[in-house]
């Protein structure tokens, strides 16, 4: 057999493997392309959801600060850093818990005026 032919035959196996890989990669790329549409929506949704959460937190904090406006003795700490270990899947629960904490704090702040009137 011609040596160049034999050489190319060996390379041919490599090319076949590479072609098969490329074919698989192409199919996977197509699949990923489709997935990306969903992932983009998920991303946008997540961004919006995160922005909404941040806005809610800001509004709650503003409300809390307003409720504590008369508490001159109190040194206000800076806005807290996002907790690194927070579970994003529990965001609604965490929001509810924050809401509850804000309400409780506001309630405590309101009670001083009631005692004064007695």
């Amino acid at each position: 057999m011609n040596a160049a032919r034999a050489y190319k035959d060996v390379i041919g196996e490599l090319v076949a493997a590479a072609d098969a890989l490329r074919e698989r990669d192409r199919a996977r790329a197509k699949q990923l392309k489709r997935q990306l549409v969903d992932l983009e929506a998920v991303l946008v949704q997540a961004l919006e959801r995160a922005a909404l959460s941040r806005l809610g937190v800001e509004l709650q904090r503003d409300a809390v600060l307003e409720a504590l406006a008369d508490e001159s003795w109190m040194a206000l700490p800076p806005r807290p850093q996002p907790a690194a270990d927070a579970d994003p899947d529990r965001l609604p629960d965490l929001e509810a818990a924050a809401n509850h904490a804000a309400e409780q704090l506001q309630e405590v702040a309101r009670r001083r005026f009631t005692l004064g009137r007695r």
Binding site: Y7, A29, A46, H100
Partner: protein, 931 residues
């Protein structure tokens, strides 16, 4: 109370801050997770689309691929990729990996300097053209992917086919040109180093410079291994290459072989050196004419051993070609050069072998050149031209006869006798090795073809006995089985040369008739149709053939006609002429007939030979001894090839002995030796040699040996009809008496003689002992009549003739006159008339006179008055001029006869239109006979 409230507020605020930190953290995580998933998908899509290697070599993606958060994706893609090539790179146990198989292939088909990665430079090889011929030549290392960085288990040699297999087209960029040139230089050096110097010839043409490219190889120009061509003359190189291709097809590949490679596979010998021509372009298209010619060379080159390496010559090639495309490396270091090749496909990147150190290249080239010089000055031996003995006589001569006669650049140089070169003309002054060349040619052909394929007719006009060794001799009884006829010492016997030509013309006619009967036209077709017949190619070698045309006479005229016929038609019927001469220019008859000379396409000129080549081709003038110019183009300069000739002294005999051992039972060749005189008993038919044969029909007097290829006896029938007497004319008593002796011996062998049936009349003293010896040899029936008894015996003989005329008695009686003219002294007018009477009326009464007369005038006188010239029907002229014999033999016939010892001009009125020359036989115990 206030304190407690403040505590509750502070606690509540901390709880609130923790809660919103968790919300902010969860929101950020939610966003980041979505972004990461998106990014991962995006990156994987890129990697899948473009491939990991391409992405890695893309500077824009460097930051992305370096992101630690994306490493999982990258690792996943890489794992898929590795898994895909696992079977090729690292297969299961028991199977070789792809890289290992490529290593093994390169080692097997690219041995030594062809495929070794290192350690090959500087070695000088002795591998000849017969091989083994590498099919792969290493140019670099390959690696899977496009990065060019081989993983430990995936690196392998990259090699390309070249000689006989493929051309090579290399493209480079401005940045990679130097690396590409270095690869070309390494490749050429590998080729030159692999073979014995001279087996490969290199040509370089660079559009940009006279001498700048491939400077390391320049030492090779010293002995012509490398030719650097003028940048302005690409056409010159292409013409040279196309001439070479044409030459190979017309001279070497005439046996139907498609390529030199196929021919070498069959014969085991490389007939022509390889040529590798490098054309270094500048990425601009060549001119249209050059492109067309280059395409022709590319198409026809490989079959003729011409491979081209094109660097930066944009061209679409319609021939087997491998490509190498150089590019700068994408990654660091920036000076690295990578390439893709057609051998390795798109998924392999080649890193070219590093340039060879300049000093080492120069030293290697010097070593090659020195060896080449040594080989060129070495005298090639005759044994180098012989095939292995088991391959002797195995070739077929269907398409022609091809055999090497010497060496060109260390390779055997072959000549051919066939359709393209039917006949050969060899010229060389005395002492330049003409006989040596002829012996080489004969022996070289004889060892390649069996006697069924090749027959020789060998004729040497000069006094040498160079061809005598081909016939059985007294001390060497072997002969060349291919030889059908060997003629030596022919000298002045031009008639024998003529006889040879006539024999060949007859054979040509026989072949033509056989071909016609089978409705074919050429020998090749005849052999195909008539498988049972023996139709060997015939090679007639005539040394010093100019002697054949030495006189302006009938022999020259006939020889010229026959030669013209043979030269023209012999080609078709497998009859080839090889004429050799010291001086071709002196042959008037030959040069006056361009139709003859044109057929002698193969010319071989030895040193200082004149006119054997074309008129303006003086290549022989500067030739050293043991060299010849072989020119298969009718002597035109471009066909010159200078061949070094071996010395065959002593070797031909050994070859002959071995051939004789194979075919010794075949018929031995006929030997014609001009210096040898045949004895009468050799010329007599076998049954008559002992004198016991009694043939029917008229007695036949043996008068000599004819100058024909079979060496037949010349006889004169002596029936009882008028004119059946024989006259021998000439003063040379020796030859005359030998003829008379031969006649007497043959007649006595033919039939029983009674007393008085043979009268020997030695009329001069010198003839008496001869007559007595003859009488003593043949015994009874012979009567010797001396001069003083002659008149009286003649009287009774005349009366006997008269008696027989009336009685019808026809018993043969022979009167031998030794110097018949001497009888004038003892015969009066009546006596002379009686002799005339015996001559005129004797034959029809069975009385035949066989006489020797010393002078044509005296015989003419005798044959006047009551006799006439036609009373003697057969004449043999000895040392007598043709003009004197003419009136006796046939008035009006112009005879061009130059007397010479041992030869007689023979004319039998009853059979001849033209006289012929005979060899005078020896006495049975003649000391002049060499038998």
């Amino acid at each position: 109370m206030v304190g407690k409230r403040r505590e509750r507020i502070a606690f509540g605020f901390d709880a609130f801050h923790q809660a919103i930190a968790a919300v902010l953290g969860a929101a950020a995580q939610l966003r980041d997770r979505a972004a990461l998933r998106h990014a991962e998908a995006m990156v994987e899509m890129w990697l899948r689309q473009d491939g990991l290697d391409a992405a890695r070599s893309d500077p824009g993606l460097r930051g992305v691929l370096g992101n630690p958060r994306l490493q999982d994706v990258i690792a996943r893609v890489a794992a898929d990729r590795d898994a895909a090539f696992d079977d090729w790179c690292a297969p299961a146990a028991g199977r070789m990996s792809g890289p290992d198989r490529l290593v093994a292939l390169t080692a097997r088909y690219g041995p030594g300097a062809a495929g070794d990665a290192d350690g090959w430079l500087g070695r000088v090889s002795s591998v000849g053209g017969e091989g083994p011929v590498p099919q792969l030549w290493r140019i670099g290392a390959g690696a899977l992917g496009t990065s060019g960085v081989p993983a430990a288990q995936t690196g392998f040699p990259v090699a390309v086919p070249l000689l006989d297999e493929s051309h090579l087209q290399i493209t480079s960029t401005h940045e990679t040109r130097a690396a590409a040139e270095a690869v070309v230089e390494s490749l050429l050096l590998r080729v030159v180093s692999y073979f014995r110097p001279g087996v490969v010839q290199l040509h370089v043409w660079d559009i940009g410079q006279f001498t700048g490219s491939l400077p390391g190889l320049y030492p090779l120009t010293r002995t012509g291994l490398l030719t650097v061509h003028d940048p302005a003359d690409l056409a010159g190189l292409l013409d040279e290459l196309s001439d070479r291709i044409r030459k190979v097809h017309t001279r070497v590949l005439v046996g139907g072989h498609p390529s030199l490679k196929a021919l070498a596979e069959q014969t085991g010998e490389r007939a022509e050196p390889w040529v590798v021509a490098v054309i270094l372009g500048n990425r601009s298209a060549l001119g249209e004419d050059d492109q067309r010619q280059l395409q022709r060379v590319l198409r026809g080159g490989l079959a003729a051993g011409v491979s081209l390496v094109l660097l930066d010559v944009p061209l679409t090639i319609g021939a087997p070609v491998e490509t190498v495309r150089f590019r700068p490396a994408d990654a660091t270091p920036p000076d690295d050069v990578l390439a893709t090749t057609s051998m390795t496909g798109p998924y392999v990147t080649m890193t070219p072998d590093p340039p060879l150190p300049r000093a080492a290249v120069t030293n290697a080239c010097h070593a090659v050149v020195e060896e080449h010089e040594r080989l060129r000055t070495r005298v090639g031996t005759f044994d180098d031209l012989l095939p292995p003995e088991e391959e002797w006589c195995t070739e077929k001569s269907t398409a022609g006869l091809f055999a090497p006669i010497g060496f060109v650049e260390g390779l055997p140089a072959t000549i051919g006798l066939g359709d393209a070169t039917p006949h050969a003309l060899i010229g060389g002054p005395s002492g330049t090795g003409k006989t040596n060349l002829l012996l080489t040619m004969i022996a070289s052909m004889a060892v390649r073809y069996s006697p069924q394929e090749l027959a020789f007719y060998l004729l040497d006009f000069k006094e040498g006995v160079s061809f005598a060794q081909f016939a059985p001799g007294s001390w060497d009884t072997t002969w060349l089985p291919h030889a059908k006829l060997v003629g030596v010492n022919v000298n002045t016997d031009r008639e024998f040369g003529l006889a040879l030509l006539q024999h060949l013309a007859d054979e040509m006619r026989r072949r033509a008739q056989a071909a016609k009967a089978l409705e074919v036209t050429k020998l090749e077709e005849l052999r195909k149709e008539d498988t049972g017949g023996e139709w060997p190619r015939i090679v007639a070698v005539i040394d010093e053939f100019q002697y054949l045309f030495a006189e302006r006479d009938g022999v020259t005229r006939q020889a010229t006609q026959l030669l013209e016929d043979l030269a023209r038609r012999g080609r078709s019927h497998g009859i080839h002429l090889v004429l050799a001469s010291q001086d071709v220019s002196s042959i008037e008859a030959f040069w006056g007939r361009p139709a003859i000379i044109e057929q002698f396409v193969l010319r071989i000129g030895l040193p200082r030979a004149r006119r054997v080549l074309a008129e303006k081709n003086d290549a022989t003038l500067g030739l050293p001894r043991w060299h010849a110019v072989v020119n298969p183009e009718s002597g035109i300069s471009h066909g010159n090839e200078i061949v070094r000739l071996p010395d065959v002294t002593g070797r031909v005999r050994e070859v002959q002995e071995r051939l004789h051992k194979r075919y010794g039972s075949d018929v031995e060749p006929r030997l014609f030796d001009g210096s040898r005189t045949p004895r009468v008993d050799e010329l007599l038919p076998p049954g008559e040699q002992r004198g016991h044969s009694r043939r029917t029909g008229p007695p036949r007097a043996l008068v000599g040996q004819r100058m024909d290829v079979d060496g037949t006896a010349a006889t004169v029938p002596l029936p009882s009809v008028p004119g059946r007497n024989i006259g021998v004319v000439g003063a040379d008593s020796e030859d005359a008496m030998r003829i008379l002796d031969a006649i007497a011996t043959s007649l006595l062998a033919h039939h029983e003689m009674g007393p008085g049936d043979v009268l020997l009349a030695p009329l001069v003293a010198g003839a008496v002992p001869v007559a007595e010896r003859l009488a003593a040899r043949v015994g009874s029936g012979v009567e010797i009549v001396r001069l003083n008894e002659f008149a009286g015996r003649l009287e009774t003989l005349a009366e006997l003739v008269v008696d027989r005329s009336s009685s019808g008695q026809r018993r043969p009686l022979y009167l031998f006159l030794y110097a018949g003219d001497a009888a004038d002294a003892v015969l009066d007018r009546d006596g002379t008339n009686r002799l005339r009477q015996v001559l005129r009326f004797g034959p029809e009464a069975g009385v035949h006179t066989i006489g020797w007369w010393r002078s044509p005038q005296r015989l003419r006188q005798l044959l006047s008055a009551s006799a006439s010239p036609d009373d003697i029907g057969a004449f043999l002229g000895l040392d007598v001029q043709g003009s004197e014999l003419g009136p006796l033999i046939a008035p009006g016939l112009q005879l061009a006869w130059s007397p010479r010892p041992g030869r007689a001009l023979f004319f039998d009125r009853s059979r001849h239109a033209q006289p012929e020359v005979l060899i005078v036989p020896a006495f049975p115990a003649d000391p002049r006979s060499t038998a």
